[in-house]
């Protein structure tokens, strides 16, 4: 046991003396959270728009006030003629124009029908779509308020509820993704590199000649990364709760237990890579290419898996992070318990056992 602790202490020296690795270890999750939280979000805030109001009456003023109050829009200018609209778009930073025709209020109260024109810069179709939706929602909202006073005989009002994420925040989607990504990347890369480094430096031979059990070498190497990953996970969770108002509706201990399972999966993958790779660079490259890209693409947090062709959907199923992503979303956002995620847990557990058996076998044959 004392020998084992000596070994673990040595591994911690390695980790803490390597400033670059340490920076990556703790910098990566913070950068990812901040990046995804504030820069790479699919919500659109403070889009610059122009308004051309020919009516200038009570109704249009009320709608404009609503638009102004919304976080999504930032009214740059009020134009006097629709000719100025194209100029505004060409100037570049205007995303949307809203035009009220003359006699807007008049039409609305007498004909019970009025028109608004919304013109969007569709050179970025997704943004255009989202912005017109926002604008329509505001106008509909105003219409609803008017309706309260008048009784219309037939009306279907669809009531839409966005379950689990009523504000349609992007964070609920990407925080679990970032958690999966960071855990996979850090654990796989760190273990594979640290084992290959011993091979490269010739210290592995010395360790294998010593009476120290080779399997304990692996376990001792994994322990610092396991602990650091748990710290990392806590940092991600604290950041996402405080900075991004991310909910944790389910049990935190269950969340950590499932994360530790993923960490062990990642550590055994790292071990497997270290058996194949002959140099630290190779280990790093295989880990980066083999982990980063598939985890980003096939986990479902960037591209919905449902829309992928069947062969790609099959590939998704062999990515451990995909299962973990589902688990984390169920626990954090839906607040579900173990009974809802036991299948995913079982799959992840099966992968871990498989990887461990294969990599330990490989490790053993290398000694002979």
């Amino acid at each position: 046991m004392k020998q084992f602790l000596t070994f673990v202490r040595k591994e911690f020296y390695h980790v803490f003396r390597d400033k670059k690795t340490l920076l990556m270890l703790f910098g990566l999750p913070i950068v990812q959270i901040v990046l995804f939280g504030f820069a790479l979000t699919n919500e659109i805030k403070n889009s610059k728009i122009v308004i051309c109001d020919y009516a200038k009456d009570e109704a249009t003023q009320q709608i404009i006030n609503k638009i102004e109050a919304s976080q999504n829009f930032d009214i740059q200018k009020t134009l006097f003629s629709h000719r100025q609209i194209e100029e505004a778009f060409k100037a570049g930073n205007i995303k949307l124009a809203i035009i009220f025709p003359a006699n807007f209020n008049n039409d609305l109260s007498h004909l019970h029908q009025a028109q608004v024109q919304i013109i969007a810069d569709a050179s970025d179709p997704n943004t255009a779509n989202t912005l017109t939706n926002y604008a329509t929602a505001i106008i509909m909202d105003y219409q609803q308020e008017l309706m309260k006073n008048n009784v219309v005989p037939f009306r279907i009002v669809p009531e839409i509820r966005m379950l689990y994420n009523p504000e349609l925040k992007g964070a609920t989607n990407f925080v679990p993704g970032v958690m999966a990504l960071v855990l996979m990347l850090v654990c796989v890369m760190m273990t594979s590199v640290s084992i290959v480094r011993e091979k490269e430096n010739g210290t592995m031979e010395v360790l294998l000649v010593s009476p120290f059990n080779p399997f304990l070498v692996i376990i001792a190497k994994a322990i610092p990364y396991l602990l650091l990953s748990i710290v990392n996970l806590s940092v991600i969770l604290i950041l996402s709760v405080t900075l991004l108002d991310m909910p944790i509706n389910g049990s935190i201990s269950l969340l950590f237990a499932e994360s530790i399972l993923l960490i062990i999966t990642a550590l055994s993958l790292g071990l497997l890579i270290s058996n194949v790779a002959q140099s630290q660079q190779a280990a790093m490259l295989i880990s980066l290419m083999g982990m980063l890209v598939p985890t980003m693409l096939f986990t479902g947090f960037m591209f919905p898996i449902e829309n992928m062709p069947v062969p790609l959907q099959v590939i998704c199923n062999i990515i451990p992070a995909k299962w973990y992503y589902t688990i984390v979303k169920s626990i954090m956002i839906k607040g579900l318990g173990f009974s809802a995620i036991w299948k995913e847990t079982l799959v992840l557990f099966g992968m871990t056992v498989f990887l461990l058996v294969v990599s330990f076998k490989k490790f053993k044959t290398r000694l002979v």
Partner: protein
């Protein structure tokens, strides 16, 4: 020197597919002697040494190390041998003291033993000022002396040195051999491979390996007489000339 045998091999062979890296080598090494294990690159020295250390399983043949069977008692063997690999084998990002404590620790030395040993070692090597410095900052010669001292920290019966003096200057090599002699005086058997023929002269007995076979084994003086050569260099050339394998 006693005549107790600490390494005994009997037709020890290692095959990699069709290639026979070491072919039925049979020899004995006695307690406390400095045994030089010589041969050209690719002659099979490292393979043979790996089998003796338990890093590689022989294809056939038998061997005992410190009286323990190479197949069945590997754990016992590991406790009784030290090993210094061809590549420099300490941790560069650990200090001198931390390296000593780590390697002592995994050999199961107690804290008390470790403390006494590390003080003694640092004093012998004259590294009082460097004890708390990272190994990476030391000159190569010092690193190698340190690596050797660490390899015999647990007082093994036998220490295996795989080309320990590669790349260092003659003065450091001389100092290194002083360390080897003092270890041998304490009764540690030294099993050393080298390319330097002047170092072969320092050994009590020398074996010459060519194409996986031991072609000659005797004291340096006897070898020189046998091949009527003036130096070990000439002996080596005489033997290696017949080699068919290309150096790797």
């Amino acid at each position: 020197m006693t005549n107790e045998t600490v390494i005994k091999t009997d037709k020890l062979t290692k095959r990699f597919g069709d290639f026979i890296a070491t072919n039925e080598i049979t020899f004995e090494v006695y307690a406390g002697e400095i045994f030089g294990f010589l041969g050209a690159n690719g002659a099979g020295k490292t393979t043979a040494m790996k089998m003796l250390c338990g890093l590689s399983t022989p294809s056939s043949g038998n061997a005992t190390i410190a009286g323990f069977d190479i197949y069945k008692q590997t754990e016992e063997i590991k406790k009784n041998i030290g090993y210094m690999s061809q590549k420099f084998s300490l941790y560069e990002d650990l200090t001198v003291l931390e390296n000593i404590q780590f390697f002592g620790g995994i050999y199961g030395l107690t804290d008390k033993q470790l403390k006494a040993k590390s003080n003694q070692l640092i004093e012998t090597l004259g590294m009082q000022n460097e004890a708390k410095k990272l190994v990476a900052s030391l000159p190569l010669g010092w690193k190698q002396k340190l690596a050797f001292s660490v390899a015999i920290l647990h007082e093994p019966k036998i220490v295996f040195l795989d080309e320990p003096t590669g790349g260092v200057d003659p003065i450091v090599r001389r100092q290194f051999w002083d360390l080897i002699y003092s270890a041998a005086d304490r009764g540690i058997t030294i099993f050393v491979t080298t390319h330097y023929m002047d170092e072969a002269e320092y050994c009590n007995r020398v074996s010459m390996m060519v194409d996986g076979v031991i072609k000659a084994l005797d004291t340096p003086d006897n070898l020189k007489k046998q091949f009527s050569a003036s130096s070990m260099d000439d002996v080596f050339f005489e033997l290696a000339r017949g080699a068919k394998r290309k150096a790797d």
